[in-house]
C-alpha cells in the first residue's frame, strides 16, 4: 500500500535507541487521563511534608473520628490521626511497592526469558518448568505464603509480590524472543557472523522493551493492590506505619460512624489502579496500532 513508499523528506525523524513512539503516547487520550490522575497524586505525595498537616503518626485524642473539614480534609481516625496525612504516606508505600516490583519483574523476566527463548534446550526446559509451577498459584495466595515464610515489612512484601510476578514476565519475554528469533534480520546478523550475545543485546532485547514496559505498568497496578490486600489482612506493612491497606482495615470497624476513614483511602487506591491500567492501555494502543478500534 501507499504507506510502504513514503516521501522521505516529509517524514520527521523518529527518536533513536528504543524508538518508543513517545509523541503518539502524549497525544493518546487514555494516557492523558491517566496522567491527569497520577500527576496530582504524585505531587501531593512528594509535597506531603510541606503541607500544613499533622504528621502521619501524630495522635490527637481531643479530635478523634472527626468528619472531613478544612483542617482535616479526609477527617481523623479513632486515635485522632489525620487520615489525609496517613493516606499520602500510604500512597508513598504503595508507589514504592509498585515501582520496585515492576522493576524487579521486568529485569528478571527480561534476562531469564531472553535466555530461555534464545537458547532453548535444557535452560528453556528448566526455566519454564519453574515458571509453570509458580503460575499454578494465584498471585495473592503465593504472596501470602511467601510473606508467611519470610515475615512482614516493606522489603519482604516487595520480594513476595515480585516473586509472583516474575514468572509472568519470563513467559512474555520468552514468547517475544521466540517470534523474533525466526525473523529474517536475525538471519541477516548471522550471515555477518554476529555472536549470540551481539544478537541478543542489539537485535532481540531492543525489540522486546516496549511490550515489557506495558506489562510492567499493569504489574505495578497489580502489585499496589496486592500490597493493600496483604496489609489489610495484617500480613504486609505493620501498624502504626501507614499503608493504604492497613488504614482501610483500621477504619473498617467504624464504617457506620466514620465512613471516611476507610472510604477515602479506598478511593485513592481505586484511582491509582485505574490510572495505571489506563496508562498501559494507552501505551499498548500506541505500540500496536491493531489494538485501536
Amino acid at each position: 500500500m501507499a504507506n510502504e513508499t513514503v516521501d522521505t523528506a516529509a517524514r520527521r525523524p523518529r527518536p533513536p535507541a528504543l524508538a518508543l513512539p513517545t509523541e503518539g503516547l502524549w497525544a493518546n487520550r487514555k494516557v492523558q487521563v491517566a496522567l491527569m490522575i497520577l500527576v496530582p497524586i504524585l505531587a501531593l505525595t512528594a509535597l506531603a511534608p510541606l503541607l500544613p498537616l499533622q504528621a502521619p503518626l501524630e495522635t490527637n485524642l481531643r479530635a478523634i473520628m472527626q468528619p472531613p473539614s478544612i483542617d482535616h480534609p479526609f477527617g481523623t481516625d479513632r486515635m485522632g490521626r489525620d487520615v489525609l496525612a496517613r493516606t499520602l504516606a500510604g500512597v508513598k508505600v504503595s508507589l514504592l511497592v509498585g515501582f520496585s516490583v515492576a522493576t524487579i519483574a521486568l529485569i528478571a523476566g527480561m534476562i531469564l526469558g531472553t535466555l530461555a527463548g534464545f537458547f532453548g534446550g535444557l535452560i528453556d526446559r528448566v526455566v519454564m518448568t519453574v515458571v509453570d509451577i509458580f503460575l499454578a498459584f494465584p498471585s495473592l495466595l503465593l504472596a501470602i505464603g511467601l510473606v508467611a515464610i519470610v515475615g512482614t515489612g516493606l522489603i519482604p512484601v516487595i520480594a513476595a509480590i515480585a516473586m509472583a510476578d516474575v514468572p509472568r514476565f519470563i513467559r512474555l519475554q520468552r514468547s517475544q524472543v521466540l517470534s523474533l528469533r525466526s525473523r529474517p534480520f536475525i538471519d541477516a546478523a548471522r550471515t555477518v557472523r554476529a555472536s549470540k550475545g551481539w544478537m541478543m543485546t542489539r537485535h532481540i532485547i531492543p525489540n522486546t522493551v516496549a511490550p515489557m514496559l506495558v506489562a510492567g505498568s499493569i504489574a505495578s497496578a497489580n502489585a499496589i493492590l496486592v500490597e493493600a490486600s496483604l496489609s489489610f489482612l495484617g500480613l504486609g506493612i505493620m501498624p502504626p506505619a501507614p499503608s493504604l491497606g492497613n488504614i482501610i482495615r483500621d477504619g473498617q470497624t467504624y464504617l457506620q460512624e466514620a465512613w471516611w476513614i476507610s472510604t477515602l483511602p479506598g478511593v485513592v487506591i481505586l484511582l491509582i489502579a485505574f490510572a495505571l491500567h489506563f496508562l498501559s492501555d494507552g501505551a499498548r494502543e500506541e505500540l500496536d496500532p491493531r489494538a485501536r478500534k
Binding site: 500500500m1 501507499a2 504507506n3 510502504e4 513508499t5 513514503v6 516521501d7 522521505t8 516529509a10 517524514r11 525523524p13 523518529r14 533513536p16 535507541a17 528504543l18 524508538a19 525473523r183 529474517p184 534480520f185 538471519d187 541477516a188 546478523a189 548471522r190 550471515t191 555477518v192 557472523r193 554476529a194 555472536s195 551481539w198 542489539r202 537485535h203 531492543p206 525489540n207
Partner: protein
C-alpha cells in the same frame, strides 16, 4: 423474453469513482475519479504498482473495503443499477451471485475450519435455488472443470489439505459456480509459481469465455496482461492514466508511464550489453499527493502545465485514451539511447570462487510418532561452481530447493552431507529488505553492523566506509540517519546491497532481490547489481523465479527441480535452446509482455503439481509431469551429463 439489458453491450460502467481512507495522517484518496466500462464477456486488465489504487478500486465496486476505507463518490452501474447506492442487504444478493471474486491469497480467503463442500454447496443452493444434492453435484462438476483430480473425494477436504495451486482452483470454482456475469480477480496468480500460474490463467480464460462472463483482472504483471486481456487500464496514483485495447497498448502506448513501464522489462531476446531502461524516482506518497499530474516528477517530457493541472483521459490513436498533456508521450522527446552496460573484466576461468560438491540437505520431520518422522528432502545432491566475477542464476519453482542452497552457502543451515568451498566471504541480499532489517536500527547502524561485528577499523574509518558504501549504491549520506520504515522498497534494497558489500565479499547471494519491489524500481536494482558486478569483480548467485531477469543478469543458469539441478549452462543457451523438458516448460510458462508473440505461442501448460518432497519418485523426479516420460524415466534416474559444449542436462532424452 428479452430484457433491455440483454441487448445493451455494456455490463459494468464505473463513473468518477472515488475511494478515501481516513488515516491519522489525514484523508488519503486511494482512488481518484476512475471511470471505465466493461462490456459483456470482456476481459479487462487493471495494471498498476502497489499503492496505485488498483485493489482499492476493485474492492470499492462491491464495497468490500476494510475499515478506514470508504467509497466517497461516483457510480458503479451494473446493468444500469448503481451498486454504490444500494443497501448492504441488496448488495449482498449481488456479491457472489452476479459478481464473483477471486483474491490473491486463497488460504486466507477460504475458511480454514470448513470443508470445501460446505463453502461451495450452500452458496450454490442459495443462488441457483438447487437442492442440496443437486448443488453438491454442481460443485463437483465445477471442481472437475478447474482440474482438481478426484473431485468427488476432494470436495470433502479442508483447505489446508490442498496445495496453493489447488486452493486457487477451488476459489475459482467457487467464484464461477454461481454463474456470475462478472468475475473480479485480484492478483489471482501472484502467489503461485509460473507453471501453475500458466495453468490457472489458461483455465480462467477458457471458463469465463465458456460461461460468457466478463472479467476484471488486477495485476502488476504486464506479461500476463498480454496473454489474457482484451482491454487494459493502467493505473497510477489512484487514476487511470491509459485505457484501451491490449494490442494498441503494447504496440503504441501513449502515456509516458505505460511507455516507460514496457521498456523496463527485460525482453526474451534482448542483448545483454545495454542497461535496462529505468524509471527514475519512486511512486508518489499518496498522503501528500502532488498538484497536477502525479507522474510528472518521473516523466522525461513533463511541461510547466503538468505541474498545474491534472490531465483527463482523452482519445488517442488506436482507440486508446491517455491522460497526458503531451501528445505521443515520450515519443515527443528525442529518445536517448540506453547507455551500454559496463562490461565486466574478462572472466578468469581458472579461479573458482564457490564450489559445491554433492550437497544434500534433509530436514527431519518433527512428528512424535516414528512413522511421521519422514525427512523433507530439500536438496538432493547438488554440485555447482561459480567462477570469479561470474553471475550464476538459479531458477526453479518454490520448493525446488533454491533458497535452501542459498542458506547452506551462507552457513545459515548446516548441510546433511556434501561440501561447500568458498574462496573468501559470502554475503547475502534477502528477498524482503524490510524484514531483514532490525526496525530499531538506523540505516547507518544497519550498514555498520558487519564492520562492527568483525571489529573492522576504528569509529572514524567505519564512518568513512559507510559513507562510501551508501554512495556506491546510489543513495545520499543523508539517508544514513533514517530508519528502514522511512525508506521506499527500492531504497531499502539498495541499503541491503550496501550492507552485503561492507566486508568486501567474494560472492554475494541474492535470493529473489527484486520480487518484493515495484515493477518500476526493479530495473534500477538490476542495473545497480550489474554495475557493481562490473566494477568490483565479485561473483553473484542470483536466485529468482523471474526468468527474464535471470536471463538478463546471469552468465550461467542452473535450473533446479525438487532439490536437483536438471540443467546447467550459459544463460543464452539454456534459454534459447533448452535441453531438459522442464526448462522448456518453465520458459514456455513465462508470460511475454507482447500480445502478438503471446498469441503465436503454443502454450500447453505443464500439467499437475510438484510431487511432495516427503516421498520423491524413484526415477526421474520430473517424470510425473513430463510430456516425454517413458517407463525408463520412472525407474532409472537420469544423471547430469554434458551434451553440447558447455550445457549439461539430466534427462534420458536430451540431445
Amino acid at each position: 423474453m428479452t430484457y433491455q439489458s440483454d441487448l445493451a453491450p455494456t455490463l459494468l460502467e464505473v463513473r468518477g469513482l472515488r475511494t478515501e481512507f481516513d488515516t491519522r495522517a489525514g484523508t488519503v484518496t486511494a482512488v481518484d475519479g476512475v471511470s471505465f466500462t466493461i462490456e459483456k464477456g470482456e476481459r479487462v486488465a487493471i495494471v498498476g504498482e502497489s499503492g496505485s489504487g488498483k485493489s482499492a478500486m476493485a474492492m470499492s465496486l462491491l464495497r468490500l473495503l476494510a475499515h478506514p476505507g470508504r467509497v466517497a463518490g461516483g457510480q458503479v452501474l451494473l446493468d444500469g443499477r448503481d451498486l454504490a447506492s444500494l443497501s448492504e442487504r441488496a448488495l449482498n444478493a449481488i456479491r457472489g451471485r452476479e459478481v464473483g471474486t477471486v483474491f490473491q491469497d486463497p488460504m486466507s480467503s477460504l475458511d480454514p475450519v470448513m470443508k470445501v463442500s460446505r463453502q461451495m454447496v450452500e452458496p450454490i443452493m442459495r443462488n441457483l435455488g438447487l437442492s442440496r444434492e443437486a448443488a453438491r453435484a454442481e460443485a463437483i462438476r465445477w471442481l472437475d472443470k478447474v482440474g482438481i483430480p478426484d473431485p468427488e473425494g476432494r470436495i470433502d477436504a479442508y483447505p489446508f489439505e490442498m496445495s496453493g495451486g489447488m486452493r486457487q482452483r477451488v476459489m475459482i470454482a467457487m467464484a464461477l459456480s454461481c454463474r456470475p456475469r462478472l468475475v473480479i480477480a485480484d492478483e489471482p496468480t501472484t502467489a503461485l509459481d509460473v507453471t501453475i500460474q500458466a495453468q490457472i490463467v489458461e483455465m480462467l480464460k477458457d471458463l469465463t469465455a465458456e460461461a460468457g462472463a466478463a472479467m476484471m483482472f488486477i495485476t502488476h504483471d504486464l506479461g500476463l496482461v498480454a496473454r489474457f486481456a482484451h482491454k487494459v487500464a493502467v493505473m497510477y496514483a489512484g487514476r487511470i492514466v491509459e485505457f484501451g485495447p491490449v494490442d494498441a497498448i503494447f504496440a503504441a502506448p501513449q502515456h509516458p508511464y505505460t511507455q516507460s513501464l514496457l521498456r523496463t522489462i527485460p525482453s526474451v531476446d534482448a542483448t545483454k550489453d545495454t542497461r535496462l531502461p529505468q524509471i527514475p524516482g519512486i511512486p508518489p506518497d499518496m498522503r501528500h499527493k502532488p498538484e497536477g499530474c502525479a507522474f510528472r516528477a518521473r516523466c522525461a517530457v513533463a511541461t510547466a502545465r503538468c505541474a498545474l493541472e491534472a490531465p483527463e483521459l482523452t482519445a488517442r490513436a488506436g482507440d486508446l485514451a491517455a491522460a497526458c498533456w503531451v501528445e505521443g508521450g515520450l515519443r515527443a522527446a528525442p529518445q536517448a539511447l540506453e547507455p551500454r552496460r559496463r562490461v565486466a573484466a574478462p572472466l578468469d576461468d581458472t579461479r573458482v570462487t564457490v564450489e559445491i560438491n554433492n550437497l544434500v540437505k534433509h530436514f527431519e520431520g518433527r512428528g512424535f510418532l516414528a512413522r511421521n518422522r519422514r525427512a523433507v528432502r530439500a536438496v538432493n545432491g547438488v554440485s555447482l561452481r561459480v567462477r570469479k566475477g561470474e553471475t550464476l542464476g538459479i531458477v526453479g519453482e518454490s520448493g525446488c530447493g533454491k533458497s535452501t542452497v542459498a542458506r547452506l552457502l551462507l552457513g545459515l543451515d548446516q548441510p546433511t552431507s556434501g561440501e561447500i568451498f568458498i574462496d573468501g566471504l559470502a554475503q547475502m541480499v534477502f528477498q524482503d529488505p524490510f524484514s531483514s532489517f532490525n526496525p530499531k536500527m538506523t540505516i547507518a547502524r544497519i550498514i555498520e553492523e558487519p564492520l562492527a561485528v568483525q571489529n573492522w577499523g576504528d569509529r572514524a574509518s567505519r564512518a568513512a566506509r559507510i559513507e562510501q558504501l551508501i554512495t556506491q549504491v546510489g543513495l545520499e549520506p543523508a539517508h544514513l540517519v533514517r530508519y528502514p520504515s522511512q525508506l521506499s522498497g527500492g531504497q531499502r534494497q539498495r541499503v541491503a546491497i550496501a550492507r552485503a558489500l561492507a566486508l568486501n565479499p567474494s560472492v554475494v547471494v541474492a535470493d529473489e532481490p527484486t520480487s518484493a519491489l515495484d515493477v518500476s524500481v526493479r530495473a534500477q536494482i538490476i542495473n545497480l547489481l550489474a554495475d557493481l558486478k562490473a566494477d568490483l569483480g565479485i561473483s553473484f548467485v542470483f536466485i529468482s523465479h523471474d526468468l527474464l531477469t535471470v536471463r538478463y543478469i546471469s552468465d550461467r543458469i542452473a535450473v533446479m527441480y525438487l532439490g536437483e539441478v536438471v540443467e546447467y549452462g550459459p544463460a543464452e543457451d539454456v534459454f534459447d535452446r533448452p535441453m531438459h523438458p522442464y526448462t522448456r516448460a518453465l520458459i514456455d510458462a513465462v508470460p511475454i509482455p507482447d500480445p502478438r508473440l503471446e498469441a503465436a505461442r503454443t502454450n500447453a501448460p505443464l500439467r499437475g503439481d510438484l510431487p511432495s518432497p516427503l516421498d520423491l519418485p524413484v526415477g526421474c523426479a520430473f517424470a510425473s509431469r513430463c510430456p516425454m516420460a517413458t517407463a525408463m524415466c520412472r525407474t532409472d534416474k537420469p544423471r547430469l551429463k554434458k551434451y553440447r559444449q558447455s550445457q549439461e542436462a539430466a534427462c534420458h532424452y536430451a540431445k
